[in-house]
């Protein structure tokens, strides 16, 4: 049993509105994620997925409970984490290469090494030759790939992704899923990936964490024992259908209980 890379225990998050009303976003989340895993978190809109991700990232504090990264409590953003949002958030005045180099610049990493890393990462995400292009010259999928390269430049062990392909069309999305699995396999990172697409969640993951509706609780964690490397054809297989159905039923059941 490998030691958990990130460990969440009894996590709760409650928002206080201006009228002093309490809005529970997350309740009693317990989760262990191991190094090298690909975990997807799936849930309906508003169930607290993004809140959970932001807490894991150290961007917002939790109301109670603990989050540990490599055994140490998370109390702020960490250099060991890379984040990809749904919006690539590229700086339009910088070239692709300099966008990828942004974290290296902020963290004051060594310039020449970072430059070499950046070029390597652009090759990894399939954007070789685009270093000097500007964001407005790229398609949505390409911009998101730049964002992925940027999230990896400072060599974090953990990659947090919040519905990164949500704004892309269906075919590009499928392609990006394949690309992401390739990048994951080649880089050996741990990935936590948020989505509200059940097929995407099952296709990508080693384990699928199903969050209930607000306040988000871990309803169940489904282990996906499909062989790797996976291609899109696997989505037509019976085993895939079983997993997808299982996850989907967790939603339907929950909807009735509410």
């Amino acid at each position: 049993m490998s030691v958990a890379l990130i460990s969440v225990s009894d996590l709760e998050k409650t928002y206080v509105t201006r009228g002093r009303a309490l809005i529970p976003a997350l309740a009693g989340i317990c989760l262990d994620i191991h190094a090298g895993e690909f975990v997807t978190i799936v849930g309906q809109s508003g169930c607290g997925k993004t809140t959970l991700l932001k807490i894991l990232a150290g961007l917002i504090p939790c109301s109670s409970g603990t989050v540990s990264l490599r055994g140490r409590p998370v109390n702020g953003p960490s250099r060991d984490i890379g984040i990809v949002f749904q919006d690539p958030v590229l700086l339009p005045w910088r070239t692709v290469l300099h966008n990828v180099l942004l974290p290296a610049q902020v963290l004051r990493l060594e310039a020449r090494a970072s430059h070499a890393r950046a070029m390597g990462l652009l090759r990894l995400v399939g954007l070789e030759g685009f270093e000097d292009k500007y964001p407005h010259e790229l398609s949505g999928g390409m911009r998101q790939r730049v964002a992925i390269a940027r999230a990896l430049i400072h060599d974090p062990s953990l990659l947090l992704m919040d519905e990164p392909f949500g704004a892309l069309d269906a075919m590009t999305r499928e392609f990006m899923n394949l690309e992401l699995l390739r990048i994951w396999q080649q880089s050996g990172k741990t990935i936590i990936f948020i989505t509200h697409s059940i097929p995407e969640a099952v296709f990508l993951a080693d384990r699928v964490v199903v969050l209930s509706a607000r306040p988000g609780r871990v309803q169940e964690i489904v282990s996906v024992d499909l062989p790797r490397p996976r291609d899109l054809d696997i989505m037509a297989s019976d085993e895939f259908g079983v997993y997808a159905r299982k996850v989907r039923h967790l939603f339907d059941a929950r909807a009735w209980l509410d």
Partner: protein, 273 residues
């Protein structure tokens, strides 16, 4: 942009003109208007001090330029405007950056800024002349005063208009306040800054002229007053044309600089902008 238009024209001139009739119509209107004006003046013997004929204006313009008189005053006004603009731009950006750092400071200072901005600065031009004399410096001060506020206000707005996701990105990297300002907030504000500078450059010419109206020995504004007194209205019109040229030229230069610096924020397909 212009190169693409030229290529389009060279490919098929007739089609180009047919789909863009304004290319022909705009100069046509101008020629028609000037022609009509000339004819009206001649036909009804309109006195020269009311409406000089375009030919008279042209004569004055050409003569004045050839003799060097107009150009001498032109450089004076241009110099005053540019100096005032330079001061306004630097102080506007610097002060705007400082004010935008602190919410409290901004909220305290803002009412004063609004009050000073709405105060017609040209009303204190006579006061500036009293304080700074008839020389160039008083004009520069007035030009700077008039140009300062558009820059300041736009810088503040630009520095505040930063979208959350960019800030979140920097926060996730534990960036320092200075890093956030230098790498994200300030570049992001540049389109606003340039909008302010664009207004400011035209205002600085305005300020210089007003200063010259109130008290000057040289400059295009001063020239207009001289011509007014001698009822050389053709001369006045000639100077007005020079001023129009000055304003347009400065604006075009500003636009060209803007296009290079904030290359990412250009509107696409703006024809004839």
């Amino acid at each position: 942009m212009a190169r693409d238009l030229w290529r389009e024209f060279a490919d098929d001139p007739t089609y180009f003109v047919r789909t863009r009739p304004q290319i022909v119509l705009i100069p046509a209107v101008f020629v028609l208007f000037i022609g009509l004006w000339e004819w009206v003046v001649r036909q009804w013997d309109v006195p020269a001090f009311i409406a000089p004929a375009p030919t008279a204006v042209t004569r004055s313009l050409v003569g004045g330029i050839r003799s060097g008189v107009y150009l001498e005053h032109f450089w004076v006004t241009l110099g005053e405007a540019l100096a005032g603009f330079g001061i306004a731009a630097v102080t506007g950006v610097a002060l705007g950056a400082i004010i935008a750092q602190s919410r409290l400071l901004e909220r305290t200072v803002y009412p004063y800024l609004v009050a000073l901005q709405t105060l017609p600065k040209i009303a204190i031009a006579p006061l500036i002349i009293v304080w700074a004399g008839f020389g160039l410096s008083s004009k520069v001060i007035i030009a700077a005063l008039v140009a300062f506020f558009p820059v300041l206000v736009n810088v503040i707005v630009g520095l505040k208009t930063i979208d959350q996701s960019k800030l979140e990105l920097m926060h996730s990297l534990r960036a320092s306040r200075w890093q956030i300002f230098r790498l994200v907030t300030f570049p992001n504000a540049l389109p606003f800054v340039f909008a302010g500078l664009d207004i400011a450059i035209v205002f600085s010419v305005l300020g210089a002229i007003v200063g010259e109206f109130v008290g000057a020995q040289r400059g295009l504004g001063n020239l207009i007053l001289q011509f007014n007194v001698t009822l050389d209205i053709a001369g006045v019109f000639a100077v007005l044309i020079l001023l129009a040229v000055l304003g347009i030229a400065l604006h075009l230069i500003m636009q060209a600089i803007q296009r290079r610096v904030i290359f990412w924020a250009q509107p696409e397909d703006v024809i004839g902008a």
